[in-house]
Symmetry: C2
Subunit: 447 residues, 2 copies
Amino acid sequence: MIRPKPLSGFPEFSPDARIVELAVLDRLRETFELHGFASIETRAVEPLDRLAKQGEIDKEVYVVQRLHSEPDARPELGLHFDLTVPFARYVLENAHQLQFPFRRYQIQKVWRGERPQEGRYREFTQADIDIVDATTLAAHHDVELPLVTLSALERLHVDLGVPPVLMRVNNRKLAQGFYLGLGIPDPAEVLRQVDKIDKIGPDQVQAALAEQVGLSRAQAASCIALAGISAPDEAFVDEVRALGVEHDQLDEGLALLADVVRTAGAYVPGRLVADLKIARGLDYYTGTVYEAELAGFESWGSIASGGRYDSLAADGRTTYPGVGLSIGVTRLLAPLLGKGMLRASRPVPTAILVAVDAEETRAAAIAVAEQLRSRGIPTEVAPKADRFGKQIRYADRRRIPYVWFGSAESGEVKDIRSGEQVPADPATWAPAPADLKPTVQATPPQS
Amino acid sequence: MIRPKPLSGFPEFSPDARIVELAVLDRLRETFELHGFASIETRAVEPLDRLAKQGEIDKEVYVVQRLHSEPDARPELGLHFDLTVPFARYVLENAHQLQFPFRRYQIQKVWRGERPQEGRYREFTQADIDIVDATTLAAHHDVELPLVTLSALERLHVDLGVPPVLMRVNNRKLAQGFYLGLGIPDPAEVLRQVDKIDKIGPDQVQAALAEQVGLSRAQAASCIALAGISAPDEAFVDEVRALGVEHDQLDEGLALLADVVRTAGAYVPGRLVADLKIARGLDYYTGTVYEAELAGFESWGSIASGGRYDSLAADGRTTYPGVGLSIGVTRLLAPLLGKGMLRASRPVPTAILVAVDAEETRAAAIAVAEQLRSRGIPTEVAPKADRFGKQIRYADRRRIPYVWFGSAESGEVKDIRSGEQVPADPATWAPAPADLKPTVQATPPQS
């Protein structure tokens, strides 16, 4: 049998890279839980009709079928392509036993049956937080969600050396109120054009607003001016006011966006800007929208995004509005790992290897190991009673920092990096705190 | 839209049950890492030909295909039905960059396209540990694996109140050597019959050994006597010896099984027995075999199993022997949760709710919350500036133990269980240690 080849679009990490991933996932989970989000997991499959949008199924869905199903059986299930569709279904299915507002986080793999290309994955991990309520959801949750997400991403930066992020936030109501205040009858159409600014530039969009949407020259210029406003603080409010447009929805949007910017500035300074050209998911989000990139690595695209949706789910009787943010864990990590910017201090959890004198005394080595483990120290027993040089090499190849020689009664520990060897008692010896578990080390990108 | 129905065979846990599951998974991971096992995850899909056994694909495979693939495209991928097949492939694919012996744990979902029935899952979580080496794998790893698995399961028992387990262990070589020592030419055929003892009883098997396999009355009686031996300590060795059979393979098997029993007895006493009728996976395992049940709940079936395989993987040049044990996490947990035997102390991570006096002072509440979170205390801010009775009810319904009233400068904390309310400073206040995180509570089964 020849060596199997990787499947394109299905990344698998080495044990070393997986340690980095676990360090990331642990910090995301811890931050979400510190903010009172409860974990759920949903099954990998959803009925195909739930994966459909407006009756149409996107190309990217993977269909799942029993191999030995009836030959003419129609496929009914597909792998979920995000965590929002399954969460909406979970909320409807369990509404009678959930407490609203319901705060949940969900860290799972999702699948998209795309044609593979650079930076596109067919299987990848997302980490989502959402708050959903029945009938109405308070506006302050729009302020809370970026705070939680940025706290999580900031921990990755401070603890692990992941580059810092910049989150851009806008509010759909702000733009809509502004357009209505200008006397434009169809704000949605303006939004659709403004969404193209990053692609085709403001001049082209301004022309399209005049020619295709039928705005006056002054109206089109105002819309472009609004989209050009961006600020790391509440200064954007005055800039918008200076454009001289008045509308209730504009006021509402400005106040909420100012609150988002102010709160993020207080707790995660420098990581969030109001950017009034951000549109995102035009058919989907109805209020605040979020989009985050790694600062200095904007070409990698968005690594977190989300927004407010007035109807996350509805069952005919009740509508469930929500606000959510999703971190693309694989999207964030795979390039950092691929470029060698993050790596684990060692590819194994083991802090110490207990050497074995002879196979006959392996039981004594196990006794030492079990005593160390009972004190929380990850320990391996050498697999072979080789000469000690070989056993040290076993540790060295795995970057295990310490080797134990001798029995519990008369033992010594060698730090194989310094070569220093000292007498040790398995009831009291401990590694340097930094050596207890593998750590994550960051290095600048190799160009 | 009507309320969606659960999909049979795809269990989804409530937030409460998920907290129990996370407590279990955390302890499994911690124990595996304490023993130096590195985490890996493999993609959910494998090429269908890898999922085939001896060219035949089992009924249980779920095929995965892009919805919009070419109409006559043959399906090529399936969801993995265990973690051994993907691990074997991972070893072959990465052999050039792995250090052998390679110790890995893997906690992931697996899928089986079975017709659903009580206790059968189509999606479930497994937690596997394996040690694999190139060419040869030392026998002492057969002793190590049940020790690690039993340590993990014992932690679930001691920390969480999961019922204790009993692991039964046998060794294929022991039986084979015994049969060869009796002068039986085809030991595999005897093993196949002996494997039926639990189903049809020893008398029927003894008859079949004589009639179908052609053993003498004395040979058949000896085989049945061997299968009847079971002991929690090394006493089984003398019982086997008393049957008066001699063979090198028998000696080898007896010595190894005695080592397994002795070592487990020293570190996890009372949880492992030698049971010489255990066969398991006849075409698969070649040495030690393991099988564990929850004591008192044997009818739920095996919750962990595994064994030694002389060829876990092979690439034509190198053969990779391995020994592995797999814990059926869903299989273990779903009945315990379903019968109310395990539950979380609360369905949210939140230890304290910060009440909000008025929407205008929400920023002050956020400031308190952020200070508590910075000290590792899971904190929520009340979603609505309701009257305090309602805010306390919000906490109570989620079993959040504490509510904070007032600002950072002049705050008080109420323990809503006792009603006791005391002045508190967010820079120093901490919940009772048992209240910091949700705990798992065990109750006897409700009959």
